[in-house]
Point group: C2
């Protein structure tokens, strides 16, 4: 074991100990609990170097050391061995998720499952409409001058819009439009359907023109263009377990959790099929400077439909949480794209 290697082991030990005890860890405690093969004094020298390099810091003179954001980052990047879930755990995940009856239920169960597995706050994004396939489009009249549009996607997500018309329409016209729409864009992805919809609206009989135009514009504007992203949050009670980890109190964290935009940036922007970890300042949000986020995308094969993740104190058990997020994302992806 070289010099540098040992120093990394020391950092790893500091992170692990601090995560499990929440006390600044000193040189003596370190040699007691890990068999590093050298004396406390040597560790102290290593710690001094690690501190110089910015990986650890001490809250005050004569206290133990605590990892910095940079320290956690190095730990996650180079020192983490993600242990795959056991067969029993995989089975539990699967059976828990499979009881779901519809999409709301799937995502509700997912968020509870994640929160329970990681004992952190869990967040799940609804499948993005634009990237989902269209399973069925329904149009039916509410009155002679209002129709309702319902879009049902492969992933089970449903969107509805009431569309006011500036003309009167008949049942038959609406039914006609309905079958034309389904024929034109059924099975396509919404993002690919735009041109077909526009084309359809131009090529209908004259008397249906206004109806088709209204419906088409709503379909395009509301469903395709808006980067709509509902999210489900669960397990907020877990935040209270680590009250001392959030010195500024929970307020900014809870506020961030209620702001879709903030959360979406965190769990939505992930490279497909990898797990992403953001630590402290990396979250790009003042309120989350004391937090860490572990997130992953879910979807079918290459097509990413949404994201999910957990949020907790920087002092979290990264290896387990990464494993849990990855496993759950995989199952959810399979479930949501499977129907």
């Amino acid at each position: 074991m070289t010099h540098d290697e040992r120093r990394l082991q020391v950092l790893r030990a500091i992170v692990e100990d601090f995560v499990s005890t929440n006390d600044p860890v000193g040189s003596k405690a370190l040699v007691d609990r890990h068999s590093l093969g050298v004396s406390a004094a040597t560790i102290r020298n290593d710690m001094a170097v690690l501190e110089d390099e910015g990986y650890i810091t001490q809250p005050h003179t004569s206290a133990g050391r605590v990892p910095t954001d940079k320290g956690y980052r190095l730990f996650v990047d180079r020192l983490t061995q993600i242990k795959p879930m056991t067969a029993a755990e995989r089975k539990a995940i699967q059976s828990f998720l499979e009881g779901a009856v519809d999409l709301d239920d799937v995502l509700g169960r997912t968020v509870r499952l994640l929160a329970q597995l990681t004992r952190q706050v869990a967040v799940v994004q609804y499948p993005t409409i634009a990237r989902s396939g269209i399973r069925h489009v329904e149009v039916f009249p509410l009155s002679t001058s209002r129709v309702m549009l319902v879009v049902i996607t492969d992933s089970g997500r449903i969107e509805q819009r009431v569309i006011p018309l500036n003309v009167e329409v008949t049942e038959e016209q609406v039914a006609d439009l309905r079958s034309k729409l389904n024929a034109a864009i059924g099975g396509l992805r919404l993002s690919d359907a735009s041109s077909r919809v526009a084309e359809l609206a131009r090529n209908v009989p004259n008397e249906m023109r206004p109806l088709a135009a209204c419906v088409a514009s709503v379909l395009l504007e509301t469903l395709v263009e808006q980067p709509d992203g509902r999210i489900v949050v669960g397990g907020t009670a877990n935040l209270t377990r680590d009250l001392h980890d959030f010195p500024m109190s929970l307020r900014p964290i809870l506020e961030a959790l209620e702001e879709q935009v903030v959360i979406l940036r965190l769990i939505g922007e992930v490279d497909p099929s990898t797990v992403m970890v953001r630590i402290g300042e990396e979250n790009q949000h003042a309120g989350l400077a004391a937090a860490a986020v572990v997130s992953a995308g879910y979807g079918s094969g290459t097509q990413q439909l949404g994201g999910l993740g957990v949020l907790g104190p920087k002092r979290m058990d990264y290896p387990s949480n990464i494993a849990a997020v990855r496993a759950v994302a995989r199952y959810v992806g399979r479930l949501v794209s499977g129907g």
Copy 2:
């Protein structure tokens, strides 16, 4: 002003002062801030009586007085003058809610609005399926042996179920069932539709019997019988403002907020067209002993569709919160039943 009247005024003053300052209120502070027309010593006597009767208590000898649950109860029942919302406030509520594009949006806005108006945690229940009118029923095949059932209600709520069949069916059969279903139960309330659905399932041509039976049973079981109650929660960050009011930390409160059952009992069980206040132990839930809930039902006319409310520390501004909950419930009821 009789003896008893003055004692009630003292109680009112204690509640109001304690709500606004969060300090146990003493006799001197009371005469300073309210013109009660008597001296501090007299107030002290009144306070002793109020304490004997259980309306107030002192955290320790030589501290001021704090209202008990019973004291808050009396305050709410007899001393509260609910100030109606100003025209400006009403206008703000209305315009904020009217921008909504669908039911999810309505309820999302409602919960944000309530949280902002009251500066407490807000909770809104989705309209109960069983009591809603059926606007449209959609059945269409996913494959030859699976169909999807979608029910859209007056209140804008949508339920979907994938139904596996034990037989193969054709497009035409499904389309036929669809129109029959709509003819039979369109416009009815789901709770009234049961017999019609059962009847329909019996009276279809032989070859459609299995399909109709499957769909009917799902329709009845999942949609009518289950007291399904999704809820939306918002403004949890407001809890942190009153950290000292929740001595056991927020954990039990946050846990309760994630348990649908608990919340539904609180906001679901209200007499129509009244505002209900539950204080401390009245919530019938250990975790909420330090909390108070102000709730009301919303709906159209006599038909209650759901409930909503706010949750906060017992030390809350009851008059304002009652007014806000009542006003918002009224607008939401109008909006949801109006379409």
